[in-house]
Symmetry: C4
Subunit: 238 residues, 4 copies
């Protein structure tokens, strides 16, 4: 029980951090797999991440059914989270966002790739998925498990996926890593965008990415980042 | 009476929100059609939106005459609002602004078009109107009903219009939608501007825009956006 | 006496406003001609504008000599102000700044020109002056009356001048106008910079600029702008 | 003792200033050579600069060994600092950061060069060092004295060095100068980036840089900058 409570408190913090770092705005959401029941995940009711409180957290089955909705309105795109937890047992946290710096890469043929060492965590390949390809013209929201499973298949084993004209999805082994990846996906996008205007940027090599993921996910880096994010967002560091 | 008071309180909030989101600065204004008298509209006396208070709100006839001015200074461009209410009975809220991200599209032949799903609400076509075309060289302000009617005709049934070297006009069925459109017009401009530097962006299709407008104007999206905007602007969510 | 005190209070406010709007940073300064002695001007001792207080204000003769220095350190480039007051009797306020948005126009052959209506106040022509042309390789600071007079001659009757690799000078009939011009010089630079990346911008015509200066310097616009600037900077609106 | 205490308080302030000016984020660090023992340097334990407090400061031998670690976690890249102090007796302060504005210049063949007068302090030549060249594919962190010495050799007598896909190193005669250089390296990067999009910028000449370094490091400029930085960061000006 105590573990879950701390994990849930951290999920509230993650919502605030992602808002503070402008990774999410009115829209976007973050979830964790229930640490005590791998067939369920925890996320807020439908609410902007900046405003999410402990009491907003709800439990969902992987198919998106609320365990006990109590009449609360739920996110229309929660299926994104369930389909990833269903397909990838190693994943325990998912972020969906519309970061302005990332969006241009979803609209053009230009690939978003890690160029700066702190952003190695975004991974070597970031697929772009277009809902139009399999589901025709829709309102572009991932509303069904069928759509979410198709998206998850396009994502493969990647940490990040871009959705054409819509946003990004980040999947990670734990919540802190998911937040770190979401933030540095945005940072890398900003730097790469400006670098491309100057010339052909040097990107990280596959080996550098591999070695850097170890470094960036180590306690030395993660503890420093998490304390920093929490302080900026005005939340307790748990 | 109570309805009107709440509507007016929301109009004050809209002023603050548009300032907080940098859609307006020292200049710009927002109005609503009087819910109890469709031949009148309500807007602030001449004051920067960030500073507008309840007691600044005034009533105007559609021709721009203040119902009871009490000697207050009024916005020089209020005719923009009256001409739209006069010509388009379905419109109940109007925003005029000089958003820096939007202005470049008013100065060049590059069309501003919805590329990201949350911005579908700006509509498929955004005309650009140049006061110089019909009225020659002026101080570019829309000062007369004749000018405002010409502008309104150029706007047609669109939600947004750009004014060359000047700014934008947004018209919507209600105030919350007008604010949402004004904010996402700016967001789309920012994303499109960067995407165009990378390559040819994919824009939303007509069908996607239609379906997304339904989604974005639904309570699920509107309630989340409005709560978020109000929290950021430090105003009560009404 | 009371007039002067209010004018000096407004000068303190102008310092804070220019800092709040990012027109000045650690460097930059603003002065007024002494309303009671046209052969003197008033400006702060050497201090960043964001920190200037009433007691920092000093009197200078037009040649840059402090009337009563009381041992205070003075701005190294105060000659900019004196030379303009000396040559242009209609000018009563001067701003010098290093606005980041304006600087690129001082480094390249691209002319900064008013494209948006609120920025008409910057004037049709903005000369670029390079101290190297007449004074060879220096530390680029305008340290002598000879340098400042050369700069003033290059400025002619313009409201604004760019200094290569250094910054801008703004001269106006009164302090509020000087602040407004300094802010909108920056705003126009930002918009023009982005517009040029999209295509060839339409600029304001000479006639539009003339008519807009009347409009923008009228009480309707000036009062609104000044109240807004003061509120944002947290200073009393005098 | 008192001298050291004041120097250490200033080091805390420098951490906060660099964070406030966005020169560092979660990562980055700043050190001083111990004023009482030139074979040691002082820097924080592993912590984001925004959060560094007096009690976080530690002493290190030039080879990176903590004098009295008390079990505290230390920065993985502290060798950067030691190797510079070892090779350059005139250097008494070092900053390492990942400034987003600077990073694009580390990724492309475009040289970062001083174009604006306040940034002359960054020096005429800014080498770019790629750890891959001598050490193959690594996690890109400067972890050993061998790597740090190689980097220091590439830096030569320069004030600044860029590290490919990683960040920047700044070395100066004292802490205030190091902070000033780090901030204006970023400012120059921002201005140069935009100027290059408009045309070929005019850069400062070698003579201008030399004369400007004298000016910018003089008390007139340094005192004004330091008071400003401290006020913005909310720290006492010592």
């Amino acid at each position: 029980m105590i573990v879950t409570s701390e994990e849930k408190q951290r999920l509230v913090s993650a919502n605030r951090i992602l808002a503070r770092e402008n990774v999410v705005d009115a829209f976007g959401h973050v979830s964790i797999r229930d640490p005590q029941n791998s067939g369920q995940y925890i996320m807020s009711r439908s609410r902007s991440p900046e405003l999410v409180e402990f009491s907003d957290l709800m439990e969902f089955a992987l198919d998106g059914e609320a365990v006990d909705s109590q009449g609360r309105v739920v996110y229309g795109e929660r299926m994104i989270h369930g389909a990833i937890y269903e397909a990838r047992p190693e994943i325990n946290a998912v972020v969906h966002n519309h970061s302005l710096a990332v969006l241009p890469f979803s609209l053009t043929a230009t690939a978003l790739k890690p160029a700066i060492h702190v952003a190695a965590v975004i991974g070597e390949e970031i697929p772009v998925w277009d809902i139009r390809e399999h589901f025709g013209e829709t309102d572009m929201l991932v509303r069904t498990m069928e759509q979410a499973r198709n998206m998850t298949a396009a994502m493969g084993a990647s940490s990040c996926l871009l959705m054409r004209g819509h946003g990004a999805v980040i999947a990670a082994q734990n919540l802190k890593e998911a937040v770190m990846i979401a933030v540095y996906l945005q940072v890398n996008a900003l730097v790469q965008t400006e670098a491309m205007k100057m010339g052909e940027p040097v990107f990280l090599s596959a080996k550098e990415i591999e070695l850097l993921c170890e470094t960036q996910f180590s306690p030395l880096a993660m503890d420093r980042v998490w304390e920093y994010f929490c302080a900026r967002a005005g939340v307790d560091s748990v």
